[in-house]
């Protein structure tokens, strides 16, 4: 890793932690620089503004997810429906980790930012919507595969996938509000029962 990549990576990692554990509005560039141990001039070399930084944080986290636990949960070697259980487990243990470490459940970074920013920043809203759409597409591909394999009856997989994402995000929001990640384990497995029927 070159020193330049290292600096950018440090800024991204610090900002991700701060945005996730607090909020976008609550965190300033100055404290991100202090946390990442970089000069302000260096910060602006990589990111013209806090908005640009947040956009990069979203891309970075979405990329980590896609190649990390989302890829692990939506493993092509697992039976399609079983992948949903793995996704619930992944959400639970990931959320539990911050409760174990800091006593507070952080929730979903994308969900947190969507709630905070959707009425305030159209560009960020669109980016978050794209991230959610990609997640929805993972569910949809899994459902289509399950239907093709005969494991599930034919359904409106586009809307069922959207419903599954909405259910998961909703559970995470409630669990965060209760500060009880266990709610994900209690309610999560029922994600498999969701289905939106095809209409003519």
């Amino acid at each position: 890793m070159t020193p330049e990549t290292d600096t950018r990576t440090r800024i991204l990692a610090t900002a991700r932690e701060m945005f996730h554990s607090r909020s976008y509005a609550d965190v300033g560039i100055q404290e991100i620089c202090v946390g990442a141990k970089v000069q302000k001039g260096s910060f602006y070399h990589f990111f013209p503004s806090k908005h640009d930084l947040a956009m990069a944080v979203i891309d970075d986290m979405a990329d980590d997810w896609a190649h990390g636990f989302v890829a692990e949960a939506f493993d092509q070697n697992l039976p399609p429906v079983e992948r949903l259980d793995y996704m619930i487990d992944a959400a639970y243990y990931w959320q539990k980790a911050t409760v174990d470490a800091e006593g507070r459940m952080r929730g979903c970074l994308f969900g947190n930012l969507a709630l905070e920013m959707s009425t305030r920043d159209e560009v960020m809203r669109a980016k978050l919507n794209a991230v959610f759409n990609k997640a929805k597409d993972r569910f949809r591909a899994t459902l289509d595969e399950a239907v093709q394999a005969g494991a599930l009856a034919a359904m409106d997989s586009e809307h069922t996938a959207t419903a599954m994402l909405a259910y998961l995000e909703g559970i995470i929001l409630l669990a965060k509000t209760r500060n009880e990640p266990e709610l994900i384990l209690v309610l999560g497995p029922a994600i498999k029962t969701l289905r939106i029927e095809l209409t003519n």
Partner: protein, 82 residues
């Protein structure tokens, strides 16, 4: 948590070193699925969160955490499949 009786053999070893939460748990779940009831899985991880995660995972799934110990920067777990 440290067990007095660390098993000295396992049916399979899972190397989860370098992986962060929740990947060690997901890999453990997959590895256990491939084993038979009563088999023992050894998991080696470097994620400190694994200590609490393995306890929660075994309690959640009914598998038995036979031992849990730190060896240098590694954490070693022996799990008996239910």
């Amino acid at each position: 948590m440290e067990s007095q009786q660390t098993p000295n053999s396992s049916n399979q070893t899972l190397d989860a070193r370098g992986l962060n939460c929740p990947l060690p748990i997901l890999r453990t779940k997959k590895a256990l699925n491939a084993l038979h009831s009563g088999d023992t899985l050894k998991v080696v991880s470097t994620d400190p969160g694994s200590l609490k995660d393995m306890v929660a995972f075994c309690s959640q799934t009914g598998n038995t955490l036979l031992s849990s110990q730190q060896a240098g920067s590694d954490y070693e777990f022996f799990i008996r499949k239910a």
